[in-house]
């Protein structure tokens, strides 16, 4: 299954020469599966999961801890997601071609030039309004399978597109709603924990809106929608957001 010539995820994007990567792999033995991979024992994974969960709760600005939590607890959900992708024609193509969503691969000018209401235009609008960039996603470190590492990387990069499709901003409320949707869609324990603990820091009024309108809608949409990782977003920039929502099965936002 592990093709020898392949240096794993990010090879096309990083454009790095195989030789240094191979050297690093040799030095660390047979266990480094992709650049940035840190092999860990089950005990280390357990400690990391506990530690990152605690740290993420104490310091919500530690996004790297949320990422680590996702990686160390995703051992059941990630293969599940990968299989869903494999059994879907578009998802299978994504697994083969391994596209990456980054500023260097996106043609921002072209996307900005698209008509209003298209995925590309709304995505760029979302990035600019919320002042975020697709390049701030952490690369995976603790996933012990190169393909699953790509799956979690894809999930992270698609997160901003989720915001766009769900029409949710990047404030605490918006993030929690997206986490509920993702929790239903992916089953990743990190999403479930984020969805459950995120609301802790919200005001009573926001909690009410969350509980009565937003979460039920997010859960319904999540259940109804097909797997969001099975959509080749990079080939659908021109598609109107509403049409894409309908196609996937996301109900219109309240």
């Amino acid at each position: 299954r592990r093709r020898p010539g392949r240096a794993g995820i990010g090879r096309a994007a990083s454009g790095g020469a195989p030789a240094p990567e191979e050297e690093e792999e040799e030095e660390e033995g047979c266990s480094q599966l992709y650049p940035g991979h840190i092999p860990t024992s089950p005990l280390q994974k357990a400690l990391l999961a506990a530690g990152s969960a605690a740290m993420a709760l104490c310091d919500p600005y530690r996004h790297d801890m949320v990422a680590v939590l996702g990686e160390t607890t995703g051992c059941l959900a990630l293969p599940n997601l990968r299989d869903k992708m494999k059994h879907h024609p578009e998802g299978y193509r994504i697994l083969q071609e391994r596209p990456r969503i980054r500023l260097s691969t996106l043609d921002m000018a072209r996307l900005r030039g698209l008509p209003d209401g298209t995925l590309g235009r709304e995505y760029v609008r979302f990035l600019e309004d919320n002042k975020v960039s697709p390049d701030t996603r952490m690369p995976p470190k603790f996933v012990d399978d190169e393909e699953l590492a790509y799956v979690i990387q894809r999930y992270r990069e698609v997160h901003d597109l989720m915001h766009t499709l769900l029409g949710m901003p990047t404030n605490m409320l918006g993030e929690v709603v997206v986490k509920w949707f993702e929790a239903v869609q992916t089953g990743l324990p990190m999403c479930v924990l984020g969805a459950a603990f995120g609301p802790v820091r919200l005001s009573a009024r926001k909690l009410q809106v969350l509980a009565t309108e937003l979460v039920p809608w997010a859960v319904r949409s999540g259940r109804n929608a097909s797997c969001i990782l099975n959509v080749y977003y990079e080939q659908r920039w021109e598609q109107p957001v509403e049409s894409l929502r309908e196609e996937i099965g996301i109900f219109p936002p309240p």
Binding site: E22, E23, E26, C30, L43, L47, L48, G51, M55
Partner: protein
Amino acid sequence: AAGHCPYRALLARRGGALRALCGSLRGLAAGPETHFGFQTVTEAERREKIYQVFESVAKKYDIMNDSMTLGIHRVWKDILVHKMNPSPGTLLLDVAGGTGDIAFRFINYVRSVRERQLQRKLRHHQNLSWQEIAASYQEDKSKSLGDSQVVVCDINKEMLKVGKQKAQHLGYSEGLSWVLGNAEELPFDDDKFDVYTIAFGIRNVTRIDLALQEAYRVLKPGGRFLCLEFSQVNNSLLSRLYDLYSFQVIPVLGEVIAGDWKSYQYLVESIRRFPPQEEFKAMIEDAGFFKVDYQNLNSGIVAIHSGFKL
């Protein structure tokens, strides 16, 4: 994972010959081979990597020390300074002293010794005249440290920066100076210092023999060399627990607290690479020191080596 190893080993062997050739070519350019944790690198690469490790950990250095050793590192450093037993007027060089832990303890120690000296002097002043007593007050007030001085020398700018900020925050200013310098080539004249300390630093020096020679050079005759460093555990059960803790827990702490697994992986590997007590003692003797001895703390998790320049 085991199933894939033979294939990779094949690749490695084919690549290995080429690598060895490249390695020797690189060696001609960048210096002989040495270790960085469990990896093999050139000396130049090692210096660069270690600089980056400490640049990266500087801000969380103290928090990490407390977490990893559960605060016990403070006791080890206290023991070092007590063993030193500096008297007022001592000139200390603390190499790889980065965030100032030894320097601050030195200042505290000398200050309290000085205070006791002054109290004793006062008791003996009962039968002096008022003018004589007033005169001696003036003299003593200006010398709360009694002319003791500590120079903190470190190769890493970030560590020094953190140290200076700490000093300011804790109110240390008198008798303290900060110098950017390399332990293998100290920017000081011969025969300058009364005591030379290096705490948890010599492990990171690429040419330990050069650092020891430099230590000998800058010490005054009669001066003392003191080194506090991780060493080899002499108890086999404790050794296994220690290994388990080091390799399983410490890199995790590094990732969770400092967001930096690799630096702490390096740290635990570098401890294993450092020569054991007797071997290090021999190296110190080779540099010219006499009456070289060591004291194990916590069954050898840490050891203090001491030597004199005569």
